[in-house]
């Protein structure tokens, strides 16, 4: 997760830095791809297919608002159809005006949906557009999305009829128009697709607005599910069951793309650098306002695991830190750093230090390994691990059989390592040693009065 946040921060930083370049480049690429797809789909006018024309128009779109791209897309489509059939071109232009009057006028800023849906239909992922609109906009985008569906089907039908009837004369234009009209009104799946897209937009929007964690992610999934079931119902209704697999695959791809879009939406929200100009009585101001929102990169920390300690450094008690056990009132001493012997010293509060060194009896291998690890741990982590270890060993103390076996075996077989190296003791062993010390002290106390009495 932290890597994602770092990536987001990095992207945000670079976007802020190169926003003036990135935005036109992205718009240029979008316009170029859109116009190329229109040219390859309706290849009737050779002059429009020239790379120079496409590049020039794309360049213009790079520095103008997105609605200009929508306008040029419509112009390109109409001009292509003019080359094939002028009457059909007029009808297409009229249909565009009707769509504007009924739908697009109410949400002109979402006009790119009208271009996006037909283009993504050619890539089999038109479902991405309603999910994205639900995520980023409001339910009024149902209207432009319906426009997009109508435009796609209209061009699909016109293309089919224009190719078949390319040799039509002027007298044959009315029958051609009748055929196209009947085909358009006969394709009830146009209404079905527009309805499902509207439903997806509403569902994604409503779920996204819910006050819960991961609302946007759940909204994408909900939109994808509604999309699949909606189109399945449409397929059952209109009998076009052949494309079910393709539709499900397209929906999955669209949902994945929506997740990517969501990530970038969160990255680029409120990160745009603003360049504003204004003036007062005394000055002209040319201000570049850079948003402050940023997540800091993770600080890199270098840990020296096998750092050698200088031989001359004395190991006195200054190298230990004092840790008070509040429950027992005991004071522990622990090495401040990982180097040195790593021995632990324990003493009663105000009492004599009692180093826990065991020259003869060694701890089990398990405890030795733990001791090795503990030497290099920070104090808080060491305390936590010690508590966890004591919690684990305490309830199992009575049942300890398998884990405790290596100790007597090791002792019996004479495998003790008499190195004198200090080892960490677990809680049970410490308690046992304490009990022994108490018993010894009690015995000494019991002995003393007898001597006194004997003296009298």
């Amino acid at each position: 997760m932290i890597k994602l946040l770092e990536l987001r921060s990095l992207l945000r930083t670079y976007y802020q830095k190169f926003q003036m370049v990135i935005d036109p480049i992205l718009k240029f690429l979008l316009a170029f791809v859109t116009l190329r797809l229109i040219n390859s789909s309706l290849a009737y006018e050779g002059r429009l297919e020239k790379t120079v024309v496409v590049l020039l128009v794309s360049l213009l779109c790079a520095f103008t608002p997105p609605s200009i791209l929508v306008f040029f897309s419509m112009i390109f489509s109409v001009l292509h159809i003019v080359a094939a059939s002028p009457l059909m071109a007029i009808i297409v232009a009229v249909v565009f005006v009707i769509l504007y009057c009924f739908f697009l006028r109410f949400a002109p800023q979402y006009g790119y949906a009208v271009v996006g849906i037909p283009i993504l239909y050619t890539l089999n992922i038109p479902y991405f557009v309603p999910i994205l609109l639900g995520l980023t906009a409001n339910p009024i985008t149902m209207l432009p999305s319906a426009c997009g569906v109508i435009v796609y089907y209209m061009f699909d039908i016109i293309k089919k009829h224009t190719v078949l009837n390319a040799s039509y004369t002027t007298d044959d234009v009315l029958p051609l128009y009748t055929e196209v009209f009947e085909d358009i009104t006969g394709r009830t799946e146009i209404l079905g697709a527009a309805f499902v897209f509207a439903l997806v937009i509403i569902v994604v929007y409503v779920v996204r607005k819910l006050r819960m964690e991961y609302a946007s992610e759940i909204a994408i999934l909900a939109g994808a599910v509604v999309n699949v079931f909606g189109f399945l119902l449409c397929d059952l209704k209109f009998g076009t069951a052949g494309a079910i697999g393709k539709m499900i695959l397209g929906t999955v791809l669209s949902a994945l793309l929506a997740f990517v879009a969501l990530f970038f939406k969160r990255v680029l929200d409120y990160t745009a650098v603003e360049n504003v100009q204004f003036e007062d009585d005394d000055y002209f101001y040319y201000v570049k306002a850079v948003p402050k929102i940023e997540i800091g990169l993770q600080a890199r920390e270098i840990k020296h695991i096998n750092e050698k300690r200088a031989a001359s450094e004395d190991e006195d008690e200054d190298d230990y830190e004092e840790i008070l056990d509040e429950e027992t009132g005991e004071v522990f001493f622990r090495p401040k750093n990982g180097s040195g012997t790593g021995g632990q010293v324990r003493r009663m509060k105000g009492g004599r230090p009692m180093p826990l060194r065991r020259p003869v009896r060694s701890a089990p291998v398990r405890d030795e390994a733990r001791a090795e690890v503990n030497r290099n741990r920070p104090a808080a982590e060491w305390e936590a691990s010690e508590r966890a270890a004591s919690d684990k060993t305490a309830p199992a103390a009575g049942k300890r059989s398998d884990a405790a076996e290596p100790v007597p075996e090791a002792m019996q077989s004479g495998q003790n390592r008499e190195t004198g190296e200090t080892v960490m003791l677990n809680e049970e062993e410490l308690i046992r040693m304490e009990e022994l010390a108490h018993r010894k002290a009690a015995m000494e106390k019991l002995d003393e009065p007898e001597e006194d009495n004997g003296g009298h």
């Binding site: 009229v94 009707i98 009057c101 006028r105 009947e182 603003e274 201000v287």
Partner: protein
């Protein structure tokens, strides 16, 4: 001397005015009822144009039949059907326009309230500056 606080405030105002606030400031020139009425008028106009174009396309499609049956057609019934569809369509769009544009207006007022607060602070800055200037002039005259 540049006043940093004033510059910050002016920058915020300029960002709002040149961005999201452009539309809101346009709406602030109208009363809500006037704005909604204007939008209803525009909607009626656009729906009428769109409906006429649809009728033209349908008429073109049915042109052969219309020409052949021109004498015997029941123009009254056709006219009533066309009119009823138009009224229903218009009603739906008008209701939608009233709801949609009212919400839009209310939302813009919410955003404008913050903008006006900033403008008030700005006015205070100017008053303070004028006061300082007047004080300096008096001191110079003395």
């Amino acid at each position: 001397m540049l006043n940093i606080r004033k510059t910050r405030l002016m920058t915020k105002l300029a960002i709002y005015e040149e961005g999201a606030g452009r539309q809101d400031i346009k709406l602030s020139k109208y009363y809500k009822s006037d704005y909604v009425r204007l939008q209803i008028l525009k909607t009626v106009l656009s729906v009428t144009v769109g409906y006429l174009l649809v009728l033209a396309l349908v008429a073109l499609y049915k042109s052969e039949y219309l020409i052949a049956q021109a004498v015997t057609l029941d123009y009254r019934a056709i006219g009533m059907t066309v009119l009823v569809i138009y009224v229903v369509l218009l009603t739906v769009y008008i209701v939608g326009a009233i709801i949609g544009y009212s919400i839009k207006y209310d939302l813009s007022r919410g955003k404008l309230a913050k903008y006006f607060r900033m403008l008030k602070v700005m006015r205070r800055f100017y008053r303070e500056e004028e006061g300082e200037t007047a004080g300096n002039e008096e001191a110079n005259n003395d």
